[in-house]
Symmetry: C2
Subunit: 196 residues, 2 copies
Amino acid sequence: MSSRDAVLRAAREQFSRKGYDAATLRAIASEAGVDPSMINHHFGTKEQLFMAALELPVDPTDHVAAVLDGPPDGVGERLVNRFLTVWDSPAGAAGVAVLRTAMQHEGSAALVREFVLNRAINPLLTGLGIPAREAPWRGNLVASQLSGLILTRYLIKLEPIASAPHAVVVRALAPTIQRYLIGALAGGLPGWMGDD
Amino acid sequence: MSSRDAVLRAAREQFSRKGYDAATLRAIASEAGVDPSMINHHFGTKEQLFMAALELPVDPTDHVAAVLDGPPDGVGERLVNRFLTVWDSPAGAAGVAVLRTAMQHEGSAALVREFVLNRAINPLLTGLGIPAREAPWRGNLVASQLSGLILTRYLIKLEPIASAPHAVVVRALAPTIQRYLIGALAGGLPGWMGDD
């Protein structure tokens, strides 16, 4: 394992066990067996290291491109399907640890929020040609359903959703995600999308 | 404050700060200024005390009855509306603390799961006359959307959903909840509802 990988591994371990606020670069460096100055040099600040540790399991960019690749009326289905593939993988297990941490600490919750919005949801909405005034609400609604899927399937482990095959979860959730992304939202929803 | 209230208050504080597994009846008794035998006498086991601490902020029974009271085609709207009223109240803040704890500890996650299913979701589905073979999936889907609403509105605090008035959130989510509770689920969804 390279010292860079050792640092990222130690960072994920420390951030998920102690939380963002309590984890220190010194302790991460110690666990990784490197000098703290090496972390500063390769990753920058604690926030940048956290982002690097968060990003490592998955680069949303490729997934966003794959979800956009196809007819618009299948985008909900493609998103749920891709989402489950990522979260059911080993990278998803790391993601669950990150999310647990984010639930405990305002600081890391904000980082997760920025990461998910800027790297995944907003590029997807932009790629779909969603007008800027609709994007925040549509993105929030998608996040509300998909974060709840993570909670119920991977953390609280409700059955049958926790053990269900992808295809079944996709069929149940795709119409919801489709509506949130590009569908009609309940009669125009005056007052919550600017001047609608 | 009665000693019973003092125990419940100490229990919520200890369970949410230390988590279910690490909290002890001895420490709770100490913080409440009572003898540990008093807790055993009034609440029973640690699990029973946890349930009592969970239940105090809100009795789902009355809310379930209110959600059931009206035409079936408005049940999704009534559920989201009632849900927001409870979670926006001081009891909801206690609920957020409980959920944070549940995210960290398998033991308390299971308690929350049992509580939500047995006291809120299942009575609602029964009241709606949902067949037993459909109830687990419909309940899971409702939980996936509403738990994600808690996450995005109260914990991760995405905007605009975190600050939006009830009426706006209700209009956005009610069609989803309506479909999950009593609507058509994507062509019968063969294989995930028993013999469909």
